[in-house]
């Protein structure tokens, strides 16, 4: 089994806010991230697929194909967007790195599975070079 990872970057804005809480509680739990005017990051998306190398091509998957899937399913929806306001999955879920990793998985998984060569193994989202979240599906 080979694990193959491709990286891509996207830039987006977001804020953290739970509508079920008071303004004070939001500010206490989320700190500066609760500023309703939002703020932004240069995110790095790391997508890992797992499979066996094809005996003819030596590829687990064609990296160009994986790049296109990431572009189409994730970057086109998130890059240079406000995640709370423009990505439907964050209308009611807070766009933390954890939830972005899960949402990106859900966006990618059907296409990767349809591609046939490999299974989606891991999605990692870096919010800054020091902070990241990872989702491995429901094991």
């Amino acid at each position: 089994m080979i694990f193959l990872t491709r990286r891509a970057t996207f830039s987006a804005s977001h804020y953290y806010w739970n509508d079920g809480w008071s303004a004070e509680k939001n500010e206490q739990v989320f700190g500066r991230c609760a500023n309703r005017n939002g703020h932004g990051h240069n995110y790095t998306l790391e997508v890992t697929v797992a499979g066996e190398p094809d005996p003819v091509t030596g590829f687990v998957v064609d990296l160009k194909w994986l790049k296109d899937v990431m572009e189409r399913e994730v970057l086109s929806a998130y890059d240079h967007r406000h995640l709370n306001l423009e990505a439907p999955e964050f209308a009611h879920a807070i766009p933390t790195s954890e939830n972005i990793a899960i949402a990106a998985w859900r966006r990618l998984e059907p296409s990767v599975t349809r591609g046939g060569g490999a299974r989606l193994s891991r999605v990692r989202v870096y919010e800054t070079p020091e902070i990241f979240a990872e989702y491995r599906g429901e094991l």
Partner: protein, 135 residues
């Protein structure tokens, strides 16, 4: 919904790789320049990975501020800008980055509530890193 949250911390410390169980020649042969008498230092990058359920109210696996606080008090204040050789945890084992990884894991294990510590990865230089997942 289980997910993982990770954070990277910079730790600068010195060490010398030297085993009392080996002769001077054996130490030099085993550890090379890492065995030089007066030690040397690294800018380590400590990556802490916490796993757990994503809280429905916060969208978080673990609160980053709480995690920072635990890592600061348990690991950074203990090792940053110190000589690892002198820490009691390395009194009877060599402060290789493998052993530092295990030590950091044990110092943090059970303290990242409500998440669990999943992995400690330490990069000694840009070209070597070590990982420990608790077993």
């Amino acid at each position: 919904m289980r997910a993982y949250f990770g954070r990277r911390y910079l730790l600068s410390a010195s060490h010398r790789l030297h085993s009392d169980a080996l002769t001077a020649e054996e130490n030099a042969a085993t550890y090379g320049k890492c065995n030089h008498l007066h030690g040397h230092g690294h800018n380590y990058v400590v990556e802490v990975l916490a796993g757990g359920d994503v809280d429905a109210e916060t969208g978080m696996v673990v609160n980053l501020v709480a995690m920072d606080d635990v890592v600061r008090t348990k690991v950074m204040e203990r090792f940053d800008h110190r000589n690892l050789d002198l820490d009691p945890l390395f009194a009877s084992c060599v402060p290789t980055t493998e052993n530092l990884c295990k030590a950091v894991f044990e110092l943090l294990d059970g303290r990242l509530w409500p998440a669990e510590l999943a992995l400690v990865r330490i990069e000694e230089t840009e070209n070597n890193f070590f990982e420990y997942a608790g077993r």
